[in-house]
C-alpha cells in the first residue's frame, strides 16, 4: 500500500515537471528595458514613474522604438531609490537595477546627494542615465572633468542650480518691480530663506553676489533644515527684519509648514523662489489655502511652451489627479532616448551617447538640447530663450497659474499663451501702504 502510494506521488511530481516542459515556448519579445529610479513612496518618484508610463504607453502603442530593422517595445523597471530617507538605499537600488534587472537605460534620480553615487555606479557600468530631478552643476561638471567615464550621463530636468538661480532672479526681478510700483518702496528688503541642502548653495552664493546690484538690500539669511516642521521663529525674525520679499529655496517638506505659517501669520513679505511642495496640487489642501499667493519656479503649467505642453499637462492631471512636478520629465527623457536610439540604429551605449549629444527635441517643457562638450557643464539641459525657460507659477485662489515669463513679452519677447499677471498678497499691500 505504502509502495503504491509512493509510486503515485512520484508520478505526479514527474507530471508536474514534464507538462510545462512540453508546453510550446512562448515567443520572447525583445524589449528595451528602461529603469525608472526614484523615491517611489514619495511624489517625486511617483511622478518619475507616471511620466515614464505615459511615454511608454504612447511609444508602444505606436509600435515601439525602431532599432535598426527591429521594432522593440519599452519595458519599464521600477527601482525604488528611497533617496529621501537613505542615500545607501539609492546606491543599492541602482546596483540592483543594473546587475539584477539588467536595464538598458536609466531615467530618474532626485536628491543630488543620492544621484552623485548613483551616477558613479551607472557610469562604471556604462549605462546611459538621464537625470530627472537633481540640479547640482557638479553632475555635469564631472562629464567635463572625465568625459570617458561620465559621458553616459545627461540631465534632462531640471535646469541646473546656476540656471535655477538666474530664473529665480528674473522672477524676483518681476516681483521687485511690482513691490516698487505698488508699494512705492525704492529699495526693497529681501530675506533669504533657503534650506540647508547641497543644491541650495549655488543659489545662496549667487544671491549675495547679484541681489545688491538689483537694487535690493539683503536683511538676513535663514537656513532651516529641509525637514523642519516649524519655521514660525524664522518668519517672526524675517518680519522683525522689515523684509518686503522672502526669496526661498525649499525642496523638502519644510515648504508646507513654511507656506502655511507664512499665510496664517500674514507675514508682510511677498514669497518668491523655489518651493517644490508648492508645485503640487496637494499643496492647497496641505496648507488649507494659507499658501495662497505663494510663487514658485516650475517646469509645467497650463501654458503653451510647445504644442505638446498642454496635452501633456491635461493628460497627466486626468490620469493622476494632480499636477505634474518636474520629475515627470521622464516623459520627455524617454522620447529623447527613443529618438537618439533610432538615429543610432543600435542600443550600443557609445553610439547612443553620440546621438544624444545631437538632441534637438520639442518636448512638453520646451525645446530640449544638451550643452556641448566644450562647455563647463556638458550634457546639461540648455536653458534660455528659445529653449527651456522654466516658469514662474503662483497660487491664486486655488489655481496654480503661470506668471513668468511675464505678460507683455517683457522678457526676451516671450509670453506663453495662458499667462496671467502676478499678484501681491493683499495683506502685504495693506501693511506697507498703511506705513
Amino acid at each position: 500500500m505504502k509502495k503504491g502510494l509512493m509510486t503515485v506521488l512520484v508520478l505526479c511530481v514527474l507530471a508536474l515537471v514534464a507538462i510545462p516542459a512540453c508546453a510550446p515556448a512562448e515567443p520572447q519579445v525583445e524589449t528595451i528595458k528602461i529603469g525608472v529610479i526614484g523615491p517611489m513612496a514619495f511624489v517625486q518618484g511617483e511622478h518619475h514613474w507616471h511620466g515614464a508610463e505615459m511615454a511608454r504607453d504612447e511609444i508602444n502603442e505606436a509600435g515601439g522604438i525602431k532599432v535598426g530593422e527591429l521594432m522593440m517595445p519599452i519595458e519599464l523597471v521600477k527601482a525604488d531609490s528611497n533617496e529621501i530617507l537613505s542615500v545607501p538605499d539609492a546606491a543599492a537600488a541602482m546596483e540592483k537595477a543594473i546587475t539584477v534587472d539588467n536595464v538598458d537605460f536609466l531615467v530618474g534620480g532626485f536628491r543630488t546627494e543620492a544621484v552623485l553615487p548613483m551616477q558613479d555606479i551607472a557610469m562604471d557600468n556604462q549605462k546611459i542615465f538621464l537625470g530627472c530631478g537633481a540640479s547640482h552643476p557638479e553632475l555635469c561638471a564631472r562629464v567635463a572633468q572625465d568625459y570617458d567615464k561620465y559621458k553616459y550621463w545627461f540631465r534632462v530636468t531640471p535646469i541646473n542650480a546656476e540656471y535655477l538661480a538666474q530664473v529665480n532672479f528674473l522672477i524676483l526681478g518681476m516681483v521687485i518691480s511690482v513691490v516698487k510700483d505698488e508699494l512705492g518702496i525704492e529699495q526693497p528688503k529681501v530675506a533669504l530663506l533657503m534650506e540647508k541642502a547641497v543644491a541650495a548653495e549655488p543659489l545662496v552664493q549667487a544671491a549675495h553676489m547679484y541681489l545688491p546690484a538689483m537694487g535690493v538690500e539683503i536683511v538676513g539669511e535663514w537656513r532651516p533644515s529641509p525637514t523642519a516642521t516649524d519655521v514660525t521663529a524664522e518668519l517672526s525674525a524675517i518680519k522683525d527684519a522689515g523684509a518686503q520679499i522672502i526669496l526661498t529655496y525649499l525642496s523638502g517638506p519644510v515648504g508646507i509648514p513654511y507656506a502655511k505659517q507664512w499665510g496664517e501669520l500674514e507675514i508682510p513679505a511677498a514669497s518668491v523662489g523655489i518651493n517644490v511642495e508648492a508645485q503640487k496640487m496637494g499643496f492647497w489642501n496641505a496648507t488649507q489655502g494659507k499658501g495662497n499667493y505663494e510663487l514658485t519656479m516650475n517646469m509645467y503649467a497650463r501654458v503653451e511652451q510647445t504644442d505638446k505642453s498642454i496635452p501633456f499637462y491635461d493628460k497627466f492631471v486626468a490620469e493622476r489627479g494632480e499636477f505634474a512636478t518636474y520629475n515627470a520629465g521622464t516623459y520627455d527623457a524617454i522620447y529623447i532616448a527613443k529618438e537618439a536610439i533610432e538615429r543610432a540604429g543600435t542600443l550600443d551605449s557609445d553610439a547612443v551617447v553620440a546621438e544624444l549629444e545631437q538632441t534637438d527635441y520639442l518636448g512638453a517643457s520646451g525645446r530640449m538640447a544638451f550643452m556641448p562638450n566644450d562647455t563647463a557643464v556638458p550634457h546639461d539641459i540648455v536653458w534660455g530663450p528659445g529653449y527651456i525657460t522654466a516658469l514662474g507659477t503662483q497660487w491664486q485662489d486655488g489655481e496654480l497659474v503661470c506668471v513668468w515669463p511675464p505678460l507683455g513679452e517683457a522678457w526676451e519677447g516671450i509670453t506663453y499663451e495662458g499667462t496671467v499677471a502676478y499678484e501681491l498678497p493683499p495683506w502685504v499691500i495693506d501693511y506697507w501702504k498703511a506705513d
Binding site: E221, W222, A228, D230, T232, A233, E234, D240, P257, Q288
Partner: protein
Amino acid sequence: MFEAILINGAMLGGIYALLALGFSLIFGVAKIINLAHTAFYMLAAYAIFTSAHLLGLSAIPSIALSVVLTTLIGIGTYKLFIERVREHETTVLILTLALALVFQECMLLAFGGHFLGAPSFVSGYVELLGVRVSNQHLLTFGVVLASLFGIWVLLSKSKLGIAIRAVAQDREIANLMGINVGRMCLMTMAIAVAMAAISGAMVAPIFVLEPRMWMYPLIMILAVVVLGGLGSIKGSVAAAFILAYTETLVVFLVPVGSFIKGAVALAVMVAVLLIRPEGLFGVAFEEERL
C-alpha cells in the same frame, strides 16, 4: 527682537512641554521609557487627518475620535507587548522603538510618503507685544496649561492619582497596601498615550504630517525629560522651555544656523548634565518626583 524671542520661545516651549508630559508621566510611574510615545502622537495626527479630511468630521468629534482610538491602540500595545517585558528595561527600550518603526511603516503604507497638512481648529493670529502668534499656537499653549492643571488635580486630589503616586514611590509597598500595581501601570499608560494623542491634535496642524514625523519630537522629549530630571514633571516643563528658548535664540541671533537649532539645544542639555548629571530637578527633589 526681545519680544519676538520671548513670545516665540514660549509657544515652542508649550509644544515641547505638551509632547513631554505624557512621556514623563509613564516613566515616572511605571519606569517605562516608551520610545513609541511620539509614534502615538503621529497615529493621532493621522487619525485626525483621516477623520477631518476623509470622513468630513468637524474639530471636536475628530479630536475625540482620534484620542479614543489612539488610547485604545496604546492600551492594546501595552497589554500585548510591553507588560510582558516591563521588568527588563533594555528590552522595553528596543521593543518600543521597534513598535514605533512598525507604526511608521504602517502609515507609509496607508498614506504614502506624501507630506500632508492636518486641519487647524482655529485660524488667524493675534499680536502679543507686537509679535504675531497663530491662534493654533495659543490654543496649544492653553491646552498645555490645562493639561498641567489636570495632571496636578489627578495626582494630588483623586484616589487614582494617589494610587499612581504610591506605585511610583515604592511598587512593593504599594502592592502590599493592596494597590493593583499592574492596573495602575496600565492606567498610567492609557493617560500617557491619551496625552500623546492630545499633542497630536494640537501640534499636528502646526507641523506637517509624514510617516517620520515622530522622530525629531522623540529626540526633543528625551532631551526634555533627561534635562528636567527623569520622572519629574515639573522638571520636564522647565526643561521644555529651556530647550525651546535655546532654539529660538539660535534662529534670531544666528539665522544662518537655524538648521542646527535642535543640535544647539541638545548641546545645552549635555552641558547642564555634565554639571548636574541627575538633571535640573532630579534626585535632590525625590519626594516630589511627580
